[in-house]
Symmetry: D3
Subunit: 130 residues, 6 copies
């Protein structure tokens, strides 16, 4: 399997249809970036053994919260975290856990993205149970 | 139990004698900071339910690697990660997992600290088995 | 007085009705964050002796301008600065004072928020004097 | 020639009518900042010998991509880069070149701004050739 | 008075002999940087009206603590803060005031520099009173 | 040619024996990182067409100066810049060019590394001509 295929399989494993659509969007809009996202990010790093996917998403969500101006990537990985099985409480706690190290503002910015993800999730659940 | 005692108990739980010595050092050198480290960091945040200690240290190590100029705090939490049961491989993978989001230099800086922690650990193990 | 009450009193002292509404908004939208904003930020830090409130807001506005991606928090503290008695000129000078240390772009981003606060203030003054 | 005139001549040289309009906008909205942008940035730094303007814009675009929350300034310098003669491919490569050092998210944020500049350029070219 | 002379007078006003020696050191080691430090920093910014020197140093110390990897500049401005009349307590409180916005590690790094400045000051006072 | 070989050839092209030694050091000390440095950095990015090596090093030096806590990587790329043919003046100007966007402290930190590289270069030239 070539590296692009390996990376795409990892995207699908980690974030299902939402992930594949997001990557397709990157490939169409920023073709030079797509190999770095898929082959480098997903095939070379996120597919490595040694951490399970829940552990990887805890690390990635903490990293993106700390980085501070990566709202789109954070939203992607908050959804990925839910998709690989982190609970809402676990993700909320990853954000809270950052406060002593980076302070309140960047964590509040992350909560703003997280709240948006949760609202869409509740709306989808409500629509599904209707 | 007051918050300082709760925080100190959490320090001991998470990092044993090394942790208590480090906190004692902060209390002596930077007395104004000690309540923020112990009460705010350990009692109000790290003692929260919702994540186990291994998950918390994955998040904290990723945060400090991303922050980039917090070598002393990173060293403390690399040791804490080992103390709460993360394997060497898991911690190495947390560092590698940061590369796509923050690039190589800050991860290499974190590896430099990690290598120092590992060397001391191997030296202690060698001395212990002598 | 418990710490939440002490923090809320400090919010009201520092930013009046605007501050209380903003904190109420945080409590409603991000309940996990509210204790960190009110108890930790306002009761444990901003209510400390040693600096008067004008001095604290000079420091906080400089910090948030430097942090760079904290527009909402900067807007809150620009309003707080005016509320505790900093003049418009003093606040403008705090922003200009950051240029040698952090360069023009983050200061220009801060001026964009500051201009918005000033426009609302002028509109309110015009409405009040009508 | 005084420093303001020297700076304005440098703005016009580097970014033509677009640059002069942007500077005029800064002078009107943030009069305290204008001397720092024009005299300090353009007269004291960008007009220095030792690098040609294409080299300067490569450096400035890399700096603003790395800084990470300076979208307006990045847009200005992406346009300046084109104006001084960098090709679209060269600018795209400056952004890609940042990935190993700063990771994907800040580069993707820069690509979002770059895509906007390219779309406007294509629309203008299409209108011009109509 | 030309701008270099104005800047040097401002350095001497703000930090006396220590400041003049530090600037002389910059002029000797990094001659290209000296005009930016003296003319731009001290003449164009720190000599502006609108804030007194104690207010300026509160802002500058907060900025440098937040920037996080500027230990030499922070040390210079901690000494400058004392020279223009800030008390030790006021400076300590500026550092503590940063915790809610930027977290503990960068503030602890600043305390490490501050402790060094205080120790030298106490040693000098002890020597002076001997 | 596999990607590791392609990357190593690019290291040698860009930084000769010094570069090969530095990469060998990374491979020995941080084996998990070496593929990211050599295959990802040098083969996938720095070997791309579209910019010549002098242009790439201008961009990389500006990026690392801005990142601010990457002294080892900056030193490596300052040497690489000289090796691919940038003049001392061009590199000095890349550093100065960052001042308007990021301020003085991070540029002064970069000058400190640059001065070290220049001193070693002059010592080597003096030894060579003896």
């Amino acid at each position: 399997m070539d590296k692009m295929s390996k990376g795409l399989a990892q995207v699908e494993l980690m974030n299902g249809e939402f992930g594949m659509n997001a990557v397709e969007n990157v490939r169409r809009k920023y073709p030079e970036l797509a190999p770095f996202v898929v082959e480098f990010g997903f095939a070379d790093v996120y597919a490595r053994p040694g951490l399970d996917l829940k552990q990887r998403e805890i690390a990635t969500i903490a990293t993106l919260t700390t980085l501070g101006d990566a709202g789109h990537q954070l939203e992607f990985h908050l959804r990925t975290g839910l998709h690989v099985g982190l609970t809402e409480t676990e993700i909320t706690e990853v954000l809270v856990n950052c406060i002593p190290q980076i302070g309140v503002p960047r964590v509040m910015n992350a909560f703003q993205v997280w709240e948006k993800v949760l609202e869409e999730r509740r709306a989808a659940a409500a629509a599904g149970s209707a």
